[in-house]
Assembly symmetry: C3
Homo-oligomer: 452 residues x 3
């Protein structure tokens, strides 16, 4: 009997967990594709389909060459809280990092080996593909290809580095004693990059599975794209919204929505990155429950609210309500009580509805509601965390003891949690907004952005 072999079972379990969850997140590519196909006019489905396939294909190469290195690459001598600058093309990633569940055994330089790399790729592809629907029916293929490369190689990785890596300037993990020591090579490194123990506001932004990192990033890019492209021809006439542009198939919308909901069980619970310890398993199971309740509450809220406003029960609004509930709970799925997840879903759907209405008033044409669902509910999710993250769960997930009061206002926590969330929100709006403005502006000036 060999103890080392035995420990491997727990560690293999984590690798397996990470891979399966990554596969499910990858399947969200299909969900987005079908959702878009259902929401655009039939004649443009061919075009949008190509963009969705490309996000995964192009993203796989960009993430390998640049993205992962910018997001998570750190070395002892060149660490940087703003951007990674090491480990491009998997040059320094070990195939399996046994440190995931037993960090004391293997102080490697990377956070998850090949399985972790794979999991993070699936997230990058998700962030990129959120935009495709918002620019549907009028963006050139070359324009979209440029965007997709830019997103997966540069814009998204910087956000990830800031919020999730061990030395990111917004990360709650930075300066966090044991974790830093084990993951990026000793305190010397951290000290060089950032003050010891100096997570922002001494807290860091809590964004567990990426309402901000992934969904806001996609959503803000979608908004910039939609604004700079301008509306589809005939979308707004005499200040009114034309009815003739409605989507081609509610069957495809439901197909897309339910696949996304399924994939989200990889996205949210999977973000714990491990399941082999008792605490891991508890967090993972809690994420599955909160994700479900917020999705359900979001769907029911959107259905009823829309019925109140329009007198109709509408499947597209219901689906967008489900998605808003999912986006809304993504940042806090491990940190919220089930009842709080229901409240989260209710207001996420209303937030989505509000942003959707605002876009129509402003005559911004977002054919699939990518900004209201991902940008709007993503921003809301960060604020919601400021109120409702629970002490015990913050301790379980981030290691801050309840005595530190780094939990939600609702429970009497201090306001630094909320403030950190707002800093993340503003950073993402600024970083993604500026970069996408430059990219889409350049494409527009050179006449490569819009067709028809």
């Amino acid at each position: 009997y060999n103890l080392a072999d035995d420990k491997a079972a727990g560690q293999s379990l984590d690798i397996f967990f990470l891979l399966i969850c990554g596969y499910m997140v990858f399947l969200m590519q299909l969900g987005f594709a079908m959702l878009c196909a259902g929401l655009v006019r039939h004649k443009n489905a061919n075009n949008i389909m190509l963009k969705n396939v490309l996000d995964a294909a192009v993203g796989s190469l960009c993430w390998y060459v640049l993205g992962y290195g910018f997001a998570y690459g750190t070395s002892d001598h060149r660490s940087n809280p703003f951007i990674g600058n090491h480990d491009f093309a998997l040059t320094h990633t070990t195939q399996v990092n046994w440190a995931i569940s037993h960090p004391e055994d293997d102080p490697g330089v990377d956070a998850g080996g090949y399985a972790g790399y794979f999991f993070q790729w699936a997230f990058a592809a998700t962030a990129a593909t959120i935009v495709s629907g918002a620019v549907a029916e009028r963006c050139t293929f070359v324009g979209y290809l440029s965007y997709s490369i830019f997103m997966a190689s540069w814009v998204y990785p910087v956000v990830v580095h800031a919020c999730w890596s061990d030395i990111g300037w917004l990360s709650p993990w930075v300066g966090d004693g044991v974790k830093v020591e084990n993951n990026d090579g000793g305190e010397g490194n951290v000290a060089a990059a950032w003050e010891d123990g100096a997570a922002i506001l001494n807290t860091g932004a809590y964004d567990f599975a990426g309402s901000g990192v992934v969904h806001m990033t996609g959503g803000i890019a979608a908004l910039v794209g939609a604004v700079m492209l301008g509306p589809r021809l005939g979308r707004f006439r005499d200040g009114k919204v034309s009815d003739t542009m409605s989507g081609s198939s509610t069957v495809l919308v439901v197909l897309g929505t339910l696949i996304l909901w399924f994939g989200w069980y990889g996205f949210n619970p999977g973000s714990q990155l491990a399941i082999s310890s008792k605490a891991d398993a508890a967090i993972v199971a809690r994420c599955a429950v909160t994700t479900t309740l917020s999705a359900g509450a979001g769907g029911v809220t959107a259905l009823l609210f829309r019925f109140w406003r329009s007198g109709c029960f509408e499947v597209v609004y219901t689906c967008n309500g489900v998605l808003a509930g999912l986006v809304g709970v993504t940042a806090g799925c491990s940190l919220l009580e089930p009842w709080a997840a229901i409240i989260c879903g209710v207001f996420a759907a209303l937030t989505m509805y509000g942003f959707e209405t605002a876009l129509l008033m402003l005559q911004i044409d977002d054919p699939v509601g990518a900004f209201p669902v991902h940008g709007g509910a993503g921003m809301y999710a960060l604020i919601f965390n400021g109120f409702f993250v629970k002490h015990d769960y913050v301790e379980e997930v981030y290691g801050y003891p309840p005595s530190s009061r780094r939990y939600g206002w609702f429970y009497g926590g201090h306001g630094q949690v909320m403030l950190s969330e707002i800093v993340e929100l503003l950073f993402i709006v600024f970083w993604v907004g500026t970069n996408m403005f430059l990219l889409f502006g350049l494409l527009k000036i050179t006449g490569k952005l819009r067709v028809s």
Copy 2:
């Protein structure tokens, strides 16, 4: 090296198993939605899609507030063999119940922690959504919403409590020594609720993954709904079936069927609830094999039988044959030999065919065949178990030693197994039939049931 940590790996494995299987069962929502979309006329697809999304969304809230408590909630002082009356809104569910694979360590009050709650929710949503196709194209949205809430909050949980909970009056687990002690707090509780050792007929009804609990419950509700709504206008003319109502898309039918088949690998093997012990793993793997063989045999049988009757090879009949095979093996997937699973699938498809023919003769309009597939093959499954459950497997799954002869007639077991199955069958017909008659009747009287 810490032994407790190590044990956690096995327990985490069970949590992971339960969650993944739950995700797959959730995906069956998509399967049912696509199946319905393919079998109704195109113009009504929008309507039916909304109902399918709602089953999951509404179900998530109903199951949280009432359903799970009615199904599994028990306490020392108020246990009840008919209905649960405790642990509503997850108030008494621990996040992770380590008792799943090592009951001696943690005699908690609930059966599976948050992961178990999640898994059971996915089943509840499945039971509810079976009905949507049967009432398609003529049921009001408000009527369906009422049904969906009623099913997930009240009708289905009572069936689950009776057949699957540790103190249910039909459950083979009740009075079963070790299990009872560990799961609901001691023999005192059981004695108060039910006679010691008194599973019904000293045996209990074997319904491993819910041919009765889930599929018959959905199927009987579908029948009552279809009867009380009456047929679609023009479905039957001069005593003949109109041809003009055939479904819109065989592609969607196949999409739905194959997703359901995939999801069934969560449904059937997952019902073991654990995989970490050698016996668990053997049972889980066996379920995967029997499920496959019965599905295949059902599909081939329906194809050939339909060809014999009509001269055509028809994809919709083949798909319904696959589904009948899956429903037919659900009750016994862990208890049947592979060859018996093939026999099971053959007659499940014929049973489905018979019920389908009978409905047409009786001019009952069930557009997707929900009753023949789920109700008919579900009833058949319970009877089939009475004949074919094998001694070794009964011991492995339920703990009854072969000497007790609580196995199938075919192997020389005693008739109490069959009798218990029939009691379950009659109970579900009566309970679901009565409740649904009252609900749909009330809706009909108040004019809220039918459109067009």
Copy 3:
């Protein structure tokens, strides 16, 4: 605390891994069905759907009765390097084979218990269903049914036995010391069947997840079928390809492609058959990464190459490029570096493109490109392995030490690896080609092959 229980966790993990991967491979049936539905004309979708469902259903029965026994059945007294001849209808398969990860404990006769049987069935069904698209729109149902039975019962199992079983004449596992002893009952057996240590060319053909075994087998059968059926009426006019036969739906093509990509994460990483040891986990994670990179590179290459040739960005070519990348990396996913996987995908897509062009020039009508994608890229994959399999990985996967130089030419390995791959390639072309020629010829002569 019980050590035996504990070991079970690792072994249960392997069973779980094998089953989940098998479920994902099964889902590829849906991917192929949707891909075909999107690529044939709408009026023929009904017909092709039935064939796809039948492959899984019929395959489940054929694999049980004959296929698995021909593929893996061996006994001490009758072992045979050409074909298995034992263990039909699961008569000698134990339910769980604990030998998977700890072979010293249980020298059973079969390779994976019921879970292994299930996993292999999913592969058999995949091989069979590849053909459906190539013969679409003109093959009779009876003809296809005959083919499907023949493939799953006889043609495919013989290929599996040769390349993957422990005594197959092309297998790298044969005569491999420890493995042989544990899996088929001692050296006596091997000696009787085949010279000791005598893998072909002392090496054996490396085909990790079956670019040859599964995809070439399906692809060659598809080519023979397409040739013997002749083109669809009106496909070629005056030596030109008619435009009027293009597929009905790019949405379905993308749906199918992304489901196939998802399922491939079961197909390739799952082919390690275990994940519980450190080496297993490393191999599995590597497979996920290489599979992703090759798929992405294939998609991008096909997109750009097609754009260069035709001036259009075309989604169908992009999807076929993704699939060619996936097929191309299947043989070597565990044996290639990530950068080599990118190269693999690039040339896989070009190979597919070349074969597609050649088929059109030869006026062979393969409506979905089954031969270019599966046959063409499958052959390429074996050759690519001859160049690029890496020493360390060959040691990890097949146990040959780097000093044996049984790795790719690119790294300075000896040419026997390449030669073995070519022998496998020729064997599959010959075996599948001959058998399918006989079957389709017999059907043609008897007038049962073609409609319309």
